[in-house]
Amino acid sequence: MEGLTVLAERKQLVGPGDVLAEGPYFAGENTYREGSKIFASRVGMADVIGNKLIVMPVKGAYIPRMDDIVLGRVFDIGMSGWQVDIYAPYPAMLPASETPMHRGRDSVRHDLRSIYGVGDLMIAQVIAFDRTRDPLLTTKGRGLGKVTSGRVARINNTKIPRVIGKKGSMITMLKKETGTDIIPGQNGVILVTGRNPDQELIAVEAIYMIEREAHTTGLTDRVKAMILERMKGITVGQ
């Protein structure tokens, strides 16, 4: 049997051990090659890009990648920086030297606490991560830094692309219809900021709805309908 299997060809749901193809193909994300065959390693939707097989997973841990924007919570303060929980298998570190306020002098513990305390939430960017060490973050950059207002929604990181949508179509609709600003972290943590908590709640509900129904068709329209219905009872911009 050479070529793609029905599973890959028809973009079906596959599970670990399912055969996707045999022959001169590449094993992409969430697949692996054994002998002449390529198998799925995770539950998800099979797809073919050129001659590369991939599986888009339905669920899974967040593995940091360079340049990812993430939302994290400070859980410890060290001598030269903060330990940040980015809801991944590895704790991240934000060195004091990677914050815009750092002036190159010796950081003393109590100075650090005045910038971020334990429990503070931040938007940061991943600047380094590999197999041998924990992820490194920076908050030098536009839009990065401490988060002091808004509401947080946490979904599985595999669903973030769905929340963003094709060319940003879903997230643009969400922002417009709920009147909120939405910042999605690649690690599945999403910040919603609105002028009143009712708007924020509706946006958060919409996000959880997208997570639950990510595998269905016509989702953008249904989410929009849900929002419009809920927004009827709200006075915007109080």
Binding site: R10, Q12, P16, G17, V43, I54, P89, H215
Partner: protein
Amino acid sequence: MDGRRLDELRPIKLEVGILDKADGSAYIEHGRNKILAAVFGPREAHPKHIALADRAVVKCRYHMAPFSTDERKSPAPSRRELELSKVIRESLEPSIMSEYFPRSTIDIIIEVLQADAGTRCAGITAASLALADAGIPLRELVAACAAGKIDGKVVLDLSDIEDKKGDADLPVAYMPKSNAIGLLQMDGSMTEEELKQALDMAINACKTIYDMQRDALRRKYHIERDDSETEEVAEVKA
């Protein structure tokens, strides 16, 4: 003894993703066995010193609830539970692509809520699904079933009453794609012929169970095909 054919499985029911807080979970009813399996991970290694540099540490706990057996069982782990925790881990770990998550742990927890012989096999079947549900990359699923001997006849999937009266018990865990046996134990007395027969019987049953596992995943994660909304998703991932 319960009206089944010699090579007939007890009824099996599988359900995936029933717990909220676990990363992955599955519930199995196999005959009168009722077993819950959950997976946490990959997550930060605790304590740090057990972490491995090149792959994840897999931890497994097999435990029986006090009310699961005829006589109430003390909640403290017995020697049997500790032994089974080990052999179960050794049957599941080969399927886990743990090299993807160095310096982390993957925790597998199996709780027997009601026991009726064959709990370690049912536990493995559920735990394998829980691993897939957690989105952990696996080479394939692991299915398990026991065969045995009563009244001189080789028989599949003994129930508790049969096990107590029986002459031998042979639990087997099997990975169909690799044609590999990850768990094999035996106690009792069988001739070489009987043993080979029992082994084949168990392996065939595992293949059937494997199909049920894939079916359970399908029921949980059915995907409707939608090119328009998911095209963007593929690009982001690649």
